[in-house]
């Protein structure tokens, strides 16, 4: 065991040392995009993700930053690289493209077709976003991507240079603005432009030492730029986070923990269970660290977008699972934690594939004490509710194998009831805090809007289950069934409400989230009622 512990410490040390050793790299240089200052690496990754569908070009063995640099230095070759992923054969055929097996196309292949379709694109542009068909949306998105690609290739989209501190503008400028639009550059801006130019020239000629020294000049020019408070440390942290893929590491550890747990049911239960527990804890440490870094970079509370709520909810479940396992020591906590933690990581990855996960927020969501506490509390509530749901599932399954009065079933029920109370605590106060935030921001505590009602549904459901149990309307098995079904309510409040707002009808069940949600609800309903009624069903079959 000590060997294992030292391995984990070694792994952590390696990560820390990577972080401190790496110097200022081209991927770290800041630019302004989508309202925030981000490192070039993030910019390149997100754009490559939008064009190509992945964050690096595997076929050419290029990182996102290298791909972007190559595009700038040699646009001719870049335009022939097949980096546009067209997933819809209709879109490909409308652009007179042959539908290939890898459906990747180059800029030069797509542009002639697009210019043929310019009148169609004009019509789509006039249309309301919600009334566009999938084909129209994808074609339009492709045309936007092509424009963006071109803007990147001649440096127009790359707003590297901070504004003059005498102007009140907060908008950064691109080299294009200075060189082609003839903006006058002040001395500080000149310094940055020059070192960038030196870097690009030496990169083209392959002089590594010159590249490094250009970056050093670039860095010092940035940090001494008047009126700008650029924290290069934070930029470096972000590129490091992009590379480190902490969530993949924690997912790997959760999966390993699950495998060890499965083995522990066959051989050496105590020893393997301990290992599995440690793996789960170390996975959670990576998980927590990743959340912490994101908070550090954006300077905001852990949850403000749906993506962040997913990773935070799964973290809460992990914490509760660790506590549960600490007291039970029978693998139940590990089972619940690793399974749900892994599932949530996968859901998170699918959300992350939409683009930048560190987006800016609209005005009303910006920096407010009540909002921060409300969202964090309610998200903890979601996590605890789902945890209760998972334990409820386990109770139902366990009830198939054991007598209702068995000690183990009773102890699972006690855990379930306790977690439900905990969940009620957080959902109730999360909801009230949400009301208080609404009172602070809009002057009404409660307005029956979908998001509020979603949270209220969870609270009411849990209140109902607890009172049903206390009044004897529900036995432990019914309580477990109710809390298992609570998962559906949580999913509806969490994801369903957003669908209601963007328009369930216009998207139908074509929309991925709606479909997944629907499948989840059907599956959960069938599973919970199936397991609950299984003894009756079985008895009926046997009596025949």
């Amino acid at each position: 065991m000590s060997l294992f512990r030292s391995k984990i410490i070694f792994a952590l040390l390696t990560i820390v040392s990577i972080q401190t050793l790496s110097g200022f790299d081209i991927g770290d240089i800041p630019l302004q995009d989508e309202g925030r200052i981000k490192p070039l690496d993030t910019f390149a990754r997100n754009h490559l993700l939008a064009f190509y569908g992945k964050r690096s070009v595997k076929e050419l063995d290029l990182t996102a930053t290298d791909w972007l640099m190559n595009l700038i230095l040699d646009p001719q070759t870049g335009r022939d690289q097949r980096v546009f992923n067209i997933r819809n054969p209709e879109v490909a055929s409308s652009l007179f493209l042959e539908w290939t097996s890898d459906h990747k196309y180059s800029f030069n292949e797509i542009v002639p077709g697009l210019s043929e379709q310019s009148s169609l694109l004009g019509i789509i542009d006039q249309k309301d976003i919600n009334s566009r068909t999938i084909f129209e949306k994808q074609l339009y998105e492709l045309s936007q991507n092509i424009l963006r690609f071109e803007e990147i290739s001649y440096l127009k989209a790359l707003r590297f240079i901070p504004p003059d501190h005498h102007t009140r503008s907060e908008e950064w400028l691109s080299p294009f603005d200075f060189i082609l639009n003839g903006f006058p550059a002040n001395d500080d801006q000149e310094k940055i432009l020059n070192s960038l130019q030196v870097y690009l020239a030496s990169r083209l000629s392959g002089e590594v030492l010159k590249m490094d020294s250009a970056l050093t000049v670039y860095r010092s020019a940035l940090s001494s730029f008047p009126g700008q408070d650029i924290d290069i440390n934070i930029l470096e942290k972000e590129t490091w986070m992009n590379r480190a893929n902490l969530f993949y590491i924690s997912l790997g550890l959760y999966l390993m923990a699950f495998i060890f747990l499965s083995f522990s049911w066959m051989v050496r239960p105590i020893f393997l269970n301990r290992i599995s527990y440690l793996l789960m804890i170390s996975g959670s440490i990576f998980h927590a660290y990743a959340i912490y870094i994101r908070m550090h970079i954006m300077g905001r509370p852990p949850v403000s977008t749906v993506y962040e709520s997913i990773i935070f909810v799964s973290f809460i479940i992990m914490v509760l699972a660790i506590i549960l396992e600490y007291f039970r020591k029978d693998g139940l906590g590990i089972f619940v934690g690793t399974v749900s933690g892994s599932i949530f990581h996968y859901i998170g990855f699918s959300y992350a594939s939409d683009g930048d996960t560190l987006g800016m927020l609209v005005a009303v969501l910006n920096s407010n004490f009540w909002l921060a506490t409300h969202v964090t509390t309610i998200t903890i509530g979601y996590g605890a509710s789902l945890m209760a749901g998972c334990v409820g599932h386990l109770y139902l399954i366990q009830a198939l194998r054991e007598n209702v009065n068995s000690a183990s079933l009773k102890s699972i029920f006690n855990n379930l009831f306790g977690i439900t109370l905990l969940a009620l605590f957080f959902t109730l106060f999360g909801t009230i805090l949400g009301g208080i935030w609404a009172d602070q921001s809009w002057g009404r505590f409660w307005g029956w809007d979908p998001k509020e009602n979603g949270a209220l549904l969870i609270v009411l459901w849990q209140l109902m289950m607890i009172h049903m149990r206390l009044s004897g309307l529900a036995r432990p098995a019914e309580f477990a069934l109710g809390m298992s079904l609570n998962n559906i309510i949580v999913a509806l409040a969490w994801f369903g409400v957003n669908l209601l707002q963007v328009g369930l009808h216009s998207y139908g069940f074509d929309d991925g989230v709606a479909r997944s949600l629907f499948i989840f609800i059907v599956f959960e309903t069938l599973f919970c009622f199936g397991v609950y009624y299984w003894p009756n069903i079985k008895m009926r079959f046997e009596s025949r």
Binding site: E170, F327, N414, L421, I436, S441, G443, W448, H467
Partner: protein, 372 residues
């Protein structure tokens, strides 16, 4: 006596609570889904702020207000249950007291709070709040020397079929139709002479109310009599009408205005500057703010109202709600709210929080019970 105790038992039973909550769950679910089609305000009126509503036009079902009232009674009476008053239930008692307080606060807010909008253009001053939903009809006398004299008929008087006999003017107003949302169309062929003013050339047609209640343009069709042979007839007025109809009443020149119901404030607000800031290089708003002068007893005081930073004054709270872009000046929309129940959620959540914490701590040993 037996009847009384058994009735008491039913009223205080947690079973009643469970069923009430179940009904609320059903209501909240359908009331939320319905918002997709009928909008938030209509769904709120139908499902949540009502004592009952009709399904299919004949089957009455309990509405949200009735369910919450029942819940409040159940909760209040359950506190008289002797079996509750035990030391180990301290936390539970506190939680329920807090819950009761929350429900009472909700009741007070629902009954007594008012909300509306204050719309002020840059450089202008206003001292009244426009109601979100209720309308009023004003007759404005323009023949006074130095001021306009307003005679205002309030919303309850303006229901369909209502007849107002106003002695002071010697006129009678019959409300033919009060419409929540209207469309204006010009007449193709000349009309009967009974239609006067604006209605001579246009028709006012009712249309489906907008999902966003504040987007509606309400209108009203009136029959006026007692003016003069020429002027007696049917008139149409709507919100935001540019050229109102005019009449001669007892020698004075009047015009009409159909406007959102106004509540006058004991102070006024002058908008100095409205500012919106975008996240650089995007169309995403970072912040909105209104710089105003709060003028009371002719003494101005400068205040900055921002998103999440409202102005609270004399029981009113003003929030940055929206804005209207103009060519050379902007107009701010401040939401104004007067809510007597606003402190209840704060107090009750603290009470409930303490109660639940006490209960959780007392339960902790059992909750974490290990498998033997």
């Amino acid at each position: 006596m037996i009847v009384k105790t058994s009735l008491m038992k039913i009223i205080t039973s947690p079973k009643v609570f469970s069923y009430t909550v179940l009904w609320l769950i059903v209501l909240v679910f359908f009331g939320t889904v319905a918002q997709k089609d009928i909008g938030l305000y209509a769904s709120q009126v139908r499902y949540f702020s009502s004592y009952y509503f009709l399904i299919g036009g004949f089957l009455p079902l309990p509405g949200g207000r009735l369910a919450l009232l029942l819940m409040t009674i159940n909760l209040a009476s359950s506190l008289f249950n002797e079996s509750l008053w035990k030391v180990k239930k301290t936390g539970i008692i506190i939680v329920h007291l807090g819950g009761l307080l929350l429900l009472l606060g909700g009741g007070i807010t629902a009954q007594f709070s008012t909300e509306g909008n204050m719309v002020i253009a840059e450089g202008e001053t206003s001292n009244h709040v426009d109601d979100h939903f209720d309308m009023e009809l004003a007759f404005v006398n323009t023949s006074r020397d130095d001021s306009l004299e307003y005679t205002v008929f309030d919303a309850p008087l303006l229901q369909d079929g209502n007849s107002i006999n106003y002695q002071k003017f010697g006129i009678q107003i019959d409300v033919i139709s009060h419409m929540g949302n209207v469309r204006i169309e010009s007449r193709i062929s000349p009309t009967e002479s009974i239609y006067k003013g604006f209605l001579k050339d246009f028709v006012i047609l009712p249309i489906q109310p907008h999902k966003e209640a504040t987007q509606n343009r309400p209108g009203i069709i009136l029959k006026l009599s007692g003016l003069s042979e020429e002027e007696d007839g049917i008139y149409g007025i709507f919100l935001g009408q540019r050229t109102p109809d005019t009449f001669d009443i007892n020698g004075d020149l009047f015009f009409t205005e159909f406007r959102r119901k106004r509540t006058y404030l004991p102070f006024s607000i002058n908008l100095l500057d409205f500012e919106k800031v975008m996240h650089p290089g995007t169309n995403v708003a970072k912040s909105f703010s209104s710089e105003i002068n709060l003028i009371e007893d002719s003494i101005p005081r400068r205040v900055l109202i921002q998103m999440n930073e409202p102005l609270r004054h004399r029981g009113y709270t003003f929030f940055q709600a929206s804005f209207i872009d103009g060519l050379d000046n902007e107009t701010t929309v401040l939401a104004a709210v007067k809510n007597y129940g606003r402190l209840f959620p704060y107090v009750s959540s603290i009470i409930m929080c303490i109660g639940l914490l006490i209960h959780l701590l007392m339960r902790l040993p059992k909750m974490l019970e290990r498998q033997k």
